[in-house]
């Protein structure tokens, strides 16, 4: 049953990265939109994510609950040594979720919008940045449970160039996912072209940010190249991801919007696969050479069984309804009046 739980954990993280990521990306795109196009972008974006954004963020909660129920020592180690970036990420989540809703539901559209908008946009940038920093820190061996001073325990556990590069990479991926997703939601040709240009730009940025991650890994002595290219599944995933990028670039101007979305999601899953496969079952690498392993740190067997059943049962309810929700509003987008 432990493997069912691990599969759910991985899938929740992936879905949060893709769906939640596209959601953050919508705010990031707004940051990179000229003032002239902002209102229109906002409308298109709202049509695209309005009905589903709450659900997109549930994956984070599912992942967290799996961690604290199934792997409590991993959860507590992370929440102790990643306290500061986690708090910053949470402040981002609060600011973003509320600003998004407030700007739409405020009965009077006036100067207050000038407060909601920047809060939404900047928190959409900051939240995935810190998510990436936290993710990066799990492999930099910077978490030191034996640290005896504040800086080593709570600051240098996450403050390093590699984690920061992973953070920027995450931001670029979010923008890319959002642009690709929204291409299919546009109603006019000129707007469509605009989002295609954005998708291309963010795809290039993601590749560049990825290169930076590799570059920094050499400087900081993190054997990233060995992890990615050291085994055949890693190499295979890398090749598949590269092929999918090429395919994506060849169909930008064709009407295959769902294929584009699939390819973008596929690329992200390959990235997550590459980065988790090599360490599996380890999930957090510690400074002293030890690692927190999903198989060794699991809670007792009865809890894992119950958790697996709860997840299986839950997905029977959740998945069909979620698919129907996304499908319904794809076919028949939300209108701006509610």
């Amino acid at each position: 049953m432990i493997y069912v739980v691990i599969a759910f954990l991985w899938t929740s993280i992936l879905l949060y990265l893709i769906l939640g990521g596209a959601d953050f990306g919508a705010g990031i795109l707004e940051l990179f939109t000229s003032d002239a196009n902002k209102t229109k972008t906002r409308k298109t974006m709202y049509r695209a994510i309005g009905p589903i954004w709450e659900a997109n963020h549930m994956w984070l909660i599912i992942a967290i609950v799996i961690l604290f129920v199934g792997f409590p020592s991993i959860y507590t180690t992370m929440s102790t040594f990643m306290h500061i970036p986690l708090v910053l990420m949470l402040l981002g989540i609060i600011a973003r979720g509320t600003a998004f809703t407030f700007r739409h539901y405020d009965a009077v559209k006036d100067e207050m919008q000038k407060i909601y908008n920047p809060i939404f946009v900047y928190s959409s940038f900051v939240t995935p940045l810190f998510l990436g920093i936290i993710a990066g820190s799990t492999v930099t061996r910077s978490i030191n449970p034996q640290a005896n001073n504040f800086l080593d325990a709570y600051i240098f556990s996450w403050l390093n160039a590699f984690s920061f590069a992973v953070g920027l990479f995450t931001v670029a991926i979010c923008g890319f996912l959002a642009a690709v997703f929204i291409i299919g939601q546009t109603q006019e040709q000129s707007e469509r072209e605009r989002f295609i240009r954005k998708a291309k730009a963010f795809n290039i940025m993601a590749v560049l940010a990825g290169a930076v991650v590799f570059g920094v890994s050499f400087i900081e002595d993190i054997p990233l190249t060995t992890w990615v290219f050291g085994s055949w599944p890693g190499v295979a995933a890398f090749i598949l991801a590269t092929i999918s990028v090429i395919v994506l670039w060849s169909i930008w101007h064709k009407p295959y919007t769902n294929t584009m979305r699939f390819l973008a999601g596929f690329q992200v899953s390959m990235i997550l696969f590459i980065t988790t496969w090599e360490h599996y079952p380890n999930i957090v690498l510690l400074k002293n050479g030890d690692a927190l392993s999903l198989l060794e740190e699991q809670g007792n067997a009865k809890t894992i069984d119950a958790l697996a059943w709860a997840l299986l049962l839950g997905s029977i309810f959740i998945l069909p309804t979620l698919v129907y929700l996304i499908y319904s509003f794809q076919k028949n987008p939300a209108t701006d009046k509610t």
């Binding site: 599912i62 402040l91 609060i94 407030f102 007792n300």
Partner: protein, 439 residues
């Protein structure tokens, strides 16, 4: 402020903030389902307007509740890592089910808010009901997890180790039913009177009277029924606490000395040095009856509890008095409202009744906060009763006081913005849902 107190304050602040939004998220969908149903049945356009206006409010509250809930799921580990390390696998079961319930709620809310004129009208109505049911289920599950801290079950604690873990037994701990029942009814009381109060104010101001009168009635009926049921649930809770956590009951009642035929102490100022309560009204034997259904039964006093295991007495006592006092007040108002509905229709036209409702707007939520203070402060010094002390669970990270300041600032600003937005929603009712019916 030391880090331990800061951590406790931050947790209390986060829960106190979240609880308001989750109560509204749990209860409002039922109000909307009723007005939506009335619209579909009678085709009276005002009911549609009421449903829509409420759903805008719910969207604001739901988003705020969802993010503050997300924050809480992290704060458990950020502030109490030692607790979560041991408790996570034991009391986590309701959280994993709650994840599902909350997810369904978010999906159903997507359908409901954005589904007007897009789906079969009864399917659309049903999605609104699902929001309410799954919200209620989430609430029950989260309270069951909290109940475990008051009444730990589903493991054996032997030589500092947590053995024979049974997450299902932990979920159905002895306290889950009485706590969940009390909380759910409280959510209906608080939301019912808060919503009714706001609409009563607008009726007094003679604005969009048809709209506000219809809204008022739905909310007031829900709130009044719940307020009449709450004393029964309160009685179940009191008897349970007397049995399960005598220290908490003793603190609630500032009951210093173990005695038979113990009096119920109403109000008063507990004086812990002299072990007396000054200026209190005492009803002989009533505490014994409340705790054990027998006017002569012995009630454990604080003298039986070692000093280091006693909860803070004054806070628990005051909070309990506030909760019960408000409960009684709202129950009396509910009786008056039902008399008005059935026997004295004329009262409904008179201002004093509406004014009482306006006065009661915040009371239910004050009672909810006070009730949680009783539960949580009354549990101290334990985070898991008789197993782990709160102070042993706190994070080793220093400087929590700064994070407490930041979250305080954030939650205060959010409260102001939400209040401001609600004010605007209400002010815009005539413009948005004009007095002349239009489809």
């Amino acid at each position: 402020m030391d880090d331990f107190l800061a951590a406790r304050s931050q947790m209390a602040l986060s829960l106190g903030f979240h609880i308001i939004f989750s109560c509204i998220g749990m209860v409002m969908p039922f109000f909307m389902a009723v007005s939506h149903y009335l619209y579909l049945k009678t085709n009276h356009i005002t009911y549609k307007h009421v449903t829509k206006a409420w759903s805008r409010g719910v969207a604001i509250f739901f988003a705020t509740g969802a993010v503050s809930g997300t924050v809480l799921s992290f704060e458990l580990g950020l502030l109490w890592p030692k607790f979560m390390e041991h408790a996570g696998p034991i009391f986590g079961m309701p959280f994993s089910l709650e994840g599902t319930a909350f997810f369904i709620e978010a999906i159903a809310l997507g359908f409901f808010l954005y589904g007007w004129d897009k789906f079969n009208k009864w399917f659309h109505w049903f999605t609104g009901v699902v929001v309410g049911i799954s919200g209620l289920a989430s609430g029950i599950l989260v309270v069951a997890a909290n109940a475990w801290m008051n009444s730990p079950a589903g493991f054996d604690y032997i030589n500092g180790e947590y053995l024979n873990i049974d997450p299902i037994a932990a979920m159905f701990n002895d306290a889950w039913f009485s706590q969940a029942l009390h909380m759910c009814i409280a959510a209906f009381v608080a939301t019912g009177f808060a919503v009714a109060g706001v609409h009563a104010l607008m009726m007094l101001k003679q604005q969009s009277v048809d709209f506000h009168a219809k809204s008022f009635k739905i909310a007031a009926v829900f709130g009044a029924i719940a307020a009449l049921l709450q004393p029964i649930s309160g009685d179940i809770s009191a008897k349970f606490v007397a049995k399960n956590q005598p220290a908490k009951l003793a603190a609630m009642e500032a009951h210093f000395h173990t005695e038979k035929a113990a009096p119920l102490i109403i109000g008063g100022i507990p004086d812990t040095d002299n072990q007396t309560v000054k200026y209190a009204l005492k009803i002989p034997g009533a505490l014994s009856f409340m705790a054990h259904s027998d006017f002569n039964a012995e009630v454990t006093g604080l003298d039986q509890i070692p000093k280091e295991n006693q909860p803070p007495i004054a806070i628990t006592h005051y909070a309990f008095q506030i909760m019960v006092g408000i409960g009684v007040l709202l129950m009396l108002l509910s009786i008056a409202y039902f008399i008005a509905l059935w026997k004295k229709k004329a009262w409904l036209q008179q201002k004093w009744l509406l004014k009482l409702f306006v006065f009661s707007t915040p009371l239910g939520f004050i009672a909810v906060e006070a009730g949680w203070t009783v539960t949580e402060v009354g549990r101290q010094p334990w985070i898991i009763k008789d197993v782990m002390r709160t102070i042993d669970a706190v994070t080793p990270m220093p400087g929590i006081v700064y994070s407490f300041y930041i979250f305080t600032a954030v939650y205060i600003s959010l409260s102001f913005i939400v209040a401001f937005m609600l004010y605007r929603q209400i002010k815009m009712v005539p413009q948005l849902y004009g007095s002349t019916p239009s489809q």
